[in-house]
Point group: C2
Chain length 398, copies 2
């Protein structure tokens, strides 16, 4: 390899060595993963890896876990002993023999090792709650109507929580909440106009009341987590919830996108047609004013002969406004959650076609647009998953 031919060494650029105005890196950067690591954190991390390998219903021997995790059998035995002691794992018989050698004892998550409480405050007229086990199965349900006798919503949340706690048969791991509005990292709910909540410290209230760990997230955000954890398993996913409003949850590399104002996914009042109808938010042509479920069903009721074309146009509109986002983030799938009168084949295929027509290239696999695999329980399951995440996500401390 000879010298480079024809280059100008030290050539002066137009920008004259831009003196590198190195602005100090702002410490809010990088997902806050700036906490110190302790030897203890190593254990926490490795516990999470084992639990994730087994979650939700995989059976493996210690030796399997060692191979899968890269840790030694010694370390696995130690961690497993700890997890068995905490009733998070259970032994379930012996492995099938596949050749010479001692058969290993199969381990799996003990679904009833803990109970999880989940609240869904995002449905109209009613607060819903459930007790779930570690694997996300609903063990018990409660609900409490919002119309109730002059009580404020926060008290109803308290009562719902009380009755859920009484129905939990195992140690309660934590409370997960799906709330409408903007939810801060500290669990403070803002802008939940339907509930009249402005800067309501929901996490503080529940933690104070119960002493339990409490995670609060926006409803659509939790729904996309549920879709990952209990649905498709995809780690890049956009979920759009069509309901009375329009919200979205966004997962990138398995991480929930929350945004700089914690307002990620709040797309209902983004103007998509400045000539559109007046929205209750004051602007014209918000997405919500065009394709919310009430708007579409009203249009369909009014013009029952053109159901298909109403739905097709709505699907095309939603597809059009989301196309660039799907392209920008290179997302493989958009899941839509909502009333099946609206979110049906016609709507979804119009949306899918619109997006793929605009996105198609040879380096991109076609985008899939379909209905969320989860039903009405999505928000509850998502809330549950935020609680379980403390156990199976290594990111936590280290």
């Amino acid at each position: 390899m000879g010298m480079v031919t024809g280059f100008k060494a030290q050539s002066p650029w137009r920008v004259p060595v831009p003196a590198l105005s190195i602005v100090r890196r702002i410490m809010t950067s990088n997902s806050g993963n700036l906490s110190k690591a302790l030897p203890k954190s190593v254990r926490h991390h490795n516990r999470a890896i084992l639990l994730r390998l087994l979650y939700p219903d995989v059976s493996m021997t210690r030796a399997d876990l060692a191979r899968a995790s890269g840790l030694t059998r010694v370390a696995i035995s130690d961690i497993v002993a700890e997890l068995l002691g905490e009733h998070l794992l259970m032994e379930v018989g012996y492995s099938k023999s596949t050749g010479p050698g001692k058969r290993g004892r199969l381990l799996r998550i003990n679904p009833d090792g803990r109970s999880i409480l989940a609240l869904d405050l995002s449905t109209p007229y009613v607060f819903r709650g459930a007790v779930l086990n570690l694997t996300g199965q609903v063990v018990a349900r409660e609900e409490i109507p919002l119309t109730a006798d002059g009580k404020v919503p926060l008290d109803l949340v308290g009562e719902l929580t009380d009755s859920l706690m009484q129905r939990a048969a195992h140690p309660i791991m934590g409370i997960g909440v799906s709330s409408p509005g903007i939810v801060s990292a500290e669990g403070v709910v803002d802008d939940a106009t339907n509930l009249g909540w402005v800067q309501t410290d929901l996490r503080g209230y529940l933690h104070e009341k119960t002493g339990l760990e409490v995670t609060v997230n926006n409803d659509a955000n939790n729904e996309v987590l549920a879709e990952q954890q209990f649905g498709s398993g995809q780690s890049d996913l956009l979920l759009v919830h069509l309901g009375d409003g329009v919200g979205a949850g966004l997962l990138v590399s398995g991480e929930l996108v929350t945004g700089c104002n914690r307002a990620a996914g709040e797309i209902g009042h983004v103007v998509v047609d400045p000539t559109g109808p007046q929205c209750r938010c004051g602007k014209r042509g918000c997405l919500e004013s065009l394709i919310s479920v009430p708007k579409l069903t009203a249009a369909m009721d009014k013009d029952p002969d053109n159901l298909a074309s109403i739905l097709r146009r709505a699907g095309e509109l939603l597809g059009r406004v989301l196309t660039m986002s799907a392209g920008l983030m290179d997302i493989p799938r958009v899941a839509v959650l909502g009333d099946s009168r609206v979110v049906n084949r016609i709507f979804l295929s119009a949306m899918e076609k619109t997006m793929n027509d605009a996105l198609a290239t040879d380096f991109r696999r076609p985008l899939v647009v379909d209905r969320s695999a989860l039903g009405e329980d999505a928000a509850l399951l998502g809330a549950c998953s935020t609680v379980v995440a403390d156990l199976i996500e290594p990111d936590g401390t280290v």
Copy 2:
């Protein structure tokens, strides 16, 4: 707290306890952070925390570092001794006294502790390279024209690397590359049509040749990393590069978004106007066919009386197609990089106004649209930052 009033215990939902089709969590999920943790990883993590606190030119004493990191002075002393031994840190005098007590010794990054090689293969007609120090200052530059005597681009990359290595005055930490096209996680470049690269293992080639660590990223992706590291410091940021093509880089919570096909940011050939002009990609009305720098300058040359309106319309168009993404991800700022004949005040303010008109709500701070703080060196600086990241990002191993 009494019993919940008016709830239906065990009420049967329309979806009859959806049997929880718990699809097994696909193991590609969650950013691949599933590697085991060892005591060694703890040290790596804590080293990174210290270096990040000091990066790029902060001076602190050991005691300062202990307070800032949460680690004890003992641990800090130990880690610092190690870093001093590796010439990554240096002592620079004593701290000012602010009260009683011994004065501490100030520590800072030793900019010349390592050299970093950066290559920018994304500019037309020429490959550019630079030697940088740890803090991202350019120490030397090289370039090599692409027009050269029948040599294939890969050989030119090799020659450029050779000459850069000769100019590195300190131990070389690694090579960072900004390449056009789609770059896989393994550093294989695909779809770089200008260079004729299809499935070209650039990282393998350079690693083989030099034995150094090599990171390869798409050019726009690296540029947004540079903008974070050496520009604004924001950890949520969209950077749009207007050049012969149109590309973007996206940062969410400080993490680069790469997408399921590694095609995140490849927005140039997303159709934004199906009635638009034919694009060389075969489709009609791709973003690139409407607002690439050549297209806009051609339009401006042809109609010199309407420069402002051409730019305004272009800015409005770009703003319109990016609005939903900014809303969906709740991004505070869009930075635009490109020729100042196009990316100027008129263009940017049209874009900014378009987006804020559509996004404005009371829970969202106004979006900022401006020019990237970095100039032509953005891609080089970004490449450099990917190399330095191994040092100052705790996420790596643990």
